[in-house]
């Protein structure tokens, strides 16, 4: 029996980079999963959670428990939304044993995409080709809440034609931070400008990450600086879908 996997698309992928969702589906199916996309999904709740609006976060979390309760696994192509479901959601129900138990069960079955492929499905290599030198940005929540560090690099190592070049500080926050990026643009822009400099110095032609929030932030800054660096979600490269969709912000070639 194939494991039944629910894809938690995340609102950013839904709105701004659908390709990542299709890449995730392809990778999961290649790994032997039966993928479903529950209709009743919206957002993981971080905008409310990180603004201190606990009541809304809880209401949304209950809806997530209902929509994603019946699957073997829930997979999220984002470290920060994955971290929200795995590390934070249960604590929203510290005062309600029933909901807490359901949230714990959901958290235990929820994975970020790349770590799910490697840790649960035992994927060691992917069938993909990418001609270029890439550098990988460790998104903060994936790195520190979910411990994702080697997995994307290991899988990237199996992509034909791909060379990995590390930045000096790949673990340094890019300055996105959700609403932080628009609440404190003076600080956020300085941070992302430093990140852009580090990425450019790595000698790569492509900058990858596992979180669309960071990618939108970095892509937006690099575009404003006129940088030729291409940005993509790591899933697009691993799924071999780079031929089907241009890098973030570049118009489709027809």
């Amino acid at each position: 029996m194939k494991p039944r996997v629910a894809l938690f698309v995340t609102c950013l992928v839904d709105l701004f980079r659908p390709t990542v969702g299709f890449a995730a589906i392809r990778l999961l199916e290649q790994a032997g999963c039966a993928v479903e996309v529950p209709r009743a999904q919206t957002c993981c709740g971080q905008p409310a959670y990180n603004s201190g609006d606990r009541a809304t976060t809880r209401d949304l979390a209950r809806a997530i428990l209902d929509a994603f309760g019946g699957y073997d696994y829930v997979v999220v192509p984002s470290g920060s939304c994955g971290g929200m479901l795995r590390a934070h959601l249960p604590h929203l129900f510290d005062d309600d044993p029933n909901l807490r138990a359901r949230a714990d069960a959901l958290a235990a079955r929820t994975y970020e995409l790349v770590s799910f492929l490697t840790r649960v499905m035992g994927v060691e290599t992917v069938e993909a080709t990418y001609e270029g030198t890439v550098t990988y940005h460790d998104s903060c929540s994936g790195l520190r809440e979910l411990g994702i560090k080697d997995e994307p690099r290991r899988l990237l190592g199996s992509v034909r034609g791909l060379t990995l070049a590390e930045m000096a500080e790949p673990e340094l926050c890019c300055g996105f931070g959700g609403t932080f990026a628009v609440k404190y643009p003076e600080i956020s822009v300085r941070m992302v400008a430093d990140k852009a400099r580090d990425a450019a110095a790595a000698g790569a032609d492509t900058l990858l990450a596992g979180d669309l929030g960071c990618l939108l932030n970095m892509a937006g800054r690099l575009s404003r600086e006129g940088s030729p660096l291409k940005l993509r979600h790591v899933a697009e490269v691993l799924a071999g879908m780079t031929g089907e969709c241009p890098p973030i912000g570049q118009p489709a070639r027809r």
């Binding site: 609102c11 919206t42 990180n50 809304t56 340094l172 932080f180 643009p185 575009s223």
Partner: protein, 475 residues
């Protein structure tokens, strides 16, 4: 607190900080070295993880039994000949300290760097009392000369480059160094300060550890100035926060190893001194009177307000050095005594949330602070706690509340959400040119210095469900 006027709002202080290239240079130099050295010290410490867990447990144990250890410390300190005073507030602590100085007939005091002294406003209180204050720590001396506030808890003058310090010394020292190399600057400060060391009637220091089973006070420095502050004067006053308690010297050593490696990456501090009571018969030196002022100033309230873990803090500064926001805006922008992640947690507790609501918000919650903290303080969690409270108390701006209410309405209704999302991407696309949005109404925070990639015409859910219903699937 400061002699120099600082902008009143967080945003204005941030704007001033990011516009100052010398500040960026100064921060990068010092924190860069600190990060490198700490990384090396931790890498060569095979048992760092278990030492860290032990450090956390020691602090948690003491905080859980604070009353017991305070009583024990007081008894043993009194037995060693020290006088112990209790201060509930910053004001009480300053009053007690000034009273002791007056009773000793002091016109001049020397002071060894202590963040608690800054926290309670002691420099200001001494000035009000007409008592001359000589700062013996090099960086504090720089701060005093410049009439500024510390910008870092370990290196108070972190915001100044060596070149700026040389300039300051040339203007203010009687016999100033000509060069800007560190040795010349230290010599210049030494010539300026030495005489004062021996003319002071009272020396004031802080404490790194209060040792309950002996009543001793432990200070650590790298310049030896604490010893010169506390030994020659007739009276030594220690002001210390009650969270500095440890059960025994062995516990202090465990924490000291964590503190020093996290702060500077060194193995030990140059000077680690245990002060135990006043000079006894037969002692060659030491103060005639030894006072310890134990300060609460909001600490027991923090216990009750969900900030218990914050009382573990060793004031090592690692969270500052690694925080990318601190590295960008520097210490003064935080506005309080304590900057960086630990300051963003402490300042709302000490100075009120309403006036400091920006501090817990101006953070990406990236978690690096918690990762490097030697006593594993969950700083992001504590910052979130302040955000929750700020929301509950209605301190967040109305525009944010309104947009989140609208967002809430949509995300709790998946069908409406899908419609709204589809509409939103098509609306946003109207502002795009060549794949990028360079300007858009209500998005100035993003687009002033960043572009935004144009979204495709259909959301993922629209595309996916359209193709799956075309395949005849039903979900």
């Amino acid at each position: 607190m400061s002699a120099m006027a600082e902008p009143a709002s967080f945003r204005a202080r941030v704007a001033a900080a990011v516009a100052d290239p010398r500040l960026a240079e100064a921060i990068a130099r010092t924190t860069g070295t600190a990060r490198r050295k700490r990384a090396a010290a931790v890498a060569s410490w095979a048992d760092f993880a278990s030492a860290r867990a032990l450090g956390r447990d020691i602090k948690d144990h003491v905080i859980a039994h604070l009353g017991h250890y305070l009583a024990l410390f007081e008894r043993n300190a009194r037995a060693s000949g020290a006088e112990v005073h209790w201060a509930r507030t910053a004001q009480e602590a300053c009053d007690i300290t000034v009273r002791i100085c007056r009773a000793a007939g002091a016109r001049r005091v020397t002071r060894a760097k202590s963040m608690l002294g800054e926290e309670i406003g002691l420099p200001h209180a001494l000035r009000e009392a007409g008592i001359e204050r000589i700062e013996t720590d090099l960086a504090e001396h720089i701060i005093q000369l410049a009439g500024e506030r510390p910008s870092h808890i370990v290196w108070p003058a972190l915001h100044k480059t060596r070149e700026q310090v040389a300039e300051l010394f040339r203007a203010r020292h009687h016999d100033a160094a000509r060069g800007a190399d560190v040795a010349a600057l230290v010599a210049s400060a030494r010539r300026e300060l030495r005489a004062g060391f021996f003319a002071a009637e009272v020396g004031i220091s802080g404490a790194n550890f209060l040792i309950a089973d002996s009543g001793a006070v432990c200070t650590v420095t790298n310049e030896g100035n604490a010893e010169l502050t506390t030994t020659p004067p007739r009276v030594h006053i220690v002001t210390a926060g009650i969270e500095k308690l440890v059960p025994s010297t062995a516990h202090a050593m465990t924490l000291l190893r964590l503190l020093v490696r996290s702060a500077t990456g060194a193995e030990v501090t140059q000077y680690t001194t245990f002060h135990c009571g006043p000079k006894r018969a037969g002692d060659p030196d030491g103060p005639e009177a030894f006072h310890i002022v134990l300060v609460d100033n909001g600490r027991t309230r923090m216990l009750a307000e969900g900030l218990r873990e914050m009382l573990r803090c060793l004031r090592c500064g690692a969270c500052l050095n690694h925080c990318v926001v601190f590295r960008t805006i520097g210490g003064h922008a935080y506005g309080g005594t304590y900057p960086g992640p630990m300051g963003a947690v402490l300042t709302p507790a000490l100075d009120g949330l309403a006036a400091n609501r920006d501090l817990p918000q101006a953070c990406t919650l990236n978690g690096q602070c918690q990762e490097v903290c030697p006593v594993a303080i969950p700083l992001p969690k504590l910052l979130r706690g302040w955000r929750d409270r700020s929301w509950r108390e209605g301190l967040e701006p109305a525009t944010l509340r309104r947009s989140l209410a609208l967002w809430r309405f949509c995300v709790l209704r998946p069908r409406l959400y899908r419609l709204a999302a589809g509409g939103a991407v098509r609306l946003v696309r109207m502002f795009a040119r060549n794949g990028w949005i360079r300007r858009m109404p209500f998005a100035g925070g993003w687009t002033r210095d960043r572009d935004f990639p144009a979204p495709p015409a259909r959301t993922f859910l629209e595309q996916y469900h359209r193709s799956s219903s075309a395949r005849g699937e039903r979900r």
